[in-house]
Amino acid sequence: MKIEEALAKLEDITSRLERGELALDEAIQLFEEGLALAAATKKQLDEARLRVDQVIEAAKGTLSVEPFDVS
């Protein structure tokens, strides 16, 4: 899931829980879903490594993507 979608979903879950209209079962299920989402998103952030490529014109009109060594 894209990070912005995950954040929006997390906000949605929180506001639904805060309204307090859900049955306990549903609330706990939603809570678990929210925590799992938070953990997964945080993991995504922790494990991200910047990817750097360069795009060069291989032949007239044809572009090719090659890894770029930043070090």
């Binding site: 307090g20 306990l24 809570f31 929210g34 938070a38 910047l50 750097v52 360069q54 795009v55």
Partner: protein
């Protein structure tokens, strides 16, 4: 002079100096001021240039005062002699007079182009597009060997490593630079990564002398920025440098590093945001559990629940299960809740109506009713009653009752 003669470096520099000073003599020269520096000694060093060439100029302290403060872009007339600074073998002009001649020609050209493009609408605020909040595909148009690209990737690696950076290489100075920059920008603007356009493109270079930044004042580059289908962040030179591409771009950044900073969120802040969201979740579920608990207790008070233990046990077991699955998550959010449920469980054990039965007490109901009989007046002779014992029940009929 003997053809076989071998000069020393010092001799050659001296001869060159004498030749220049005597052959050329004192002359007037006109040019645009480039870089200016005033040495602690009070001597003034600056470059003079025109469209094709430049020369270093020195004006020693103690001559007649320069009438205006020299600034880059200003056109001046200087009077003096051409010479060689022998220790360095450097050819230079020693000015005895410096006079301003109106605004600089290059600067005037810059202003003219700027006005023309402004009138044409290339700088209009209505054309400027916002940057996406969470960019994942970032284009960069710059030199692969320059400091700018290194700065940009360093900032992104620390701040927003979720991004995928695509470099579109181009020379950033020299005659071919404007054409290369415009072409690279065009490629970046149309480039599809997994079928989608890039989120935005950073166009820039690191700091340099004013003439090194000239490509970013080129009309071709300005038009390529304007025509670019995706937002452009212009990041040319240092904070103080202003280029035409800055005016046309959707966002202007003072430096390439700053461009990477202002165009991306900080993943440390994001992680905090997520932690806060998880804490909110915990608070919300907490209050939901409390209200369930309250409802449970009040139900408990109202009537004898037939098999309440099982309910609590199921809840406690389920919470144990969730707690097990969520172990390792930093906030031990479930702990207090589990403790409370345990407490409720203990409470139930104590109030379990079966406990006293084992000690020989019993509970009596009128047949067909759920409230226990609490006093003799609740029954009348002839009523069918049921007595619940620790094991089994007895059904009987009331013979007499004593209400005292």
């Amino acid at each position: 002079m003997n053809e076989e003669r071998v000069y020393t470096v010092s001799e050659l520099n001296r001869v060159a100096r004498e030749l220049l000073e005597t052959e050329l003599g004192d002359v007037w020269m006109k040019g645009e001021v480039g870089d200016v520096s005033r040495a602690p000694s009070g001597h003034l060093y600056f470059t003079l240039k025109d469209a094709e060439a430049e020369i270093g100029v020195v004006r020693f302290r103690g001559r007649s005062p320069v009438l205006v403060a020299l600034e880059p872009g200003m056109v001046v007339l200087v009077f003096g002699r051409t010479t060689v600074y022998e220790p360095r073998g450097r050819y230079q002009f020693v000015a005895s007079l410096v006079q301003p001649v109106g605004a600089g020609l290059l600067h005037a050209a810059f202003e003219r182009l700027k006005e023309r493009l402004r009138e044409e609408g290339l700088f209009d605020a209505s054309h400027k597009r916002p940057l996406p909040r969470f960019p994942l595909r970032i284009g960069v148009v710059t030199s692969p060997s320059g400091a700018a690209f290194h700065d940009i990737t360093s900032v992104l690696a620390r701040r927003w490593p979720l991004a995928h950076v695509l470099l579109f290489p181009a020379s950033v100075q020299g005659e071919t630079a404007p054409g290369e920059l415009a072409a690279a920008l065009d490629r970046a603007g149309r480039f599809l990564l997994d079928g989608a356009l890039l989120d935005f493109v950073i166009l820039g270079r690191g700091g340099g002398a004013a003439e090194d930044l000239a490509a970013f004042n080129d009309e071709r580059v300005a038009r390529a920025v304007y025509a670019c289908p995706i937002p452009v962040v212009s990041a040319v030179g240092h904070d103080i440098d202003v280029s035409i591409s800055d005016f046309v771009a959707d966002v202007r950044a003072p430096t390439p590093s700053a461009a990477a900073e202002l165009a991306t969120p900080d993943c440390t802040e994001m992680a905090n945001l997520i932690k806060r969201a998880a804490a909110h979740l915990a608070i919300a579920i907490d209050s939901r559990c409390r209200s369930a608990e309250r409802a449970f207790h009040s139900a408990l008070r109202r009537s004898i629940v037939r098999e309440p233990r099982r309910l609590v046990e199921t809840c406690a077991q389920r919470l144990d299960f969730y707690a097990g699955r969520l172990l390792g998550f930093p906030n031990a959010v479930l702990e207090p809740r589990i403790a409370r449920f345990r407490h409720a469980d203990d409470l139930l054990r104590l109030t379990d109506p079966r406990r006293p039965l084992h000690r020989g007490y019993s509970i009596t109901y009128r047949v067909g009713e759920t409230s226990p009989v609490r006093c003799a007046a609740d029954v009348a002779p002839g009523d069918e009653i049921e007595t619940v014992l620790a094991e089994g029940r007895i059904q009987s009929r009331v013979e007499t009752r004593r209400t005292e």
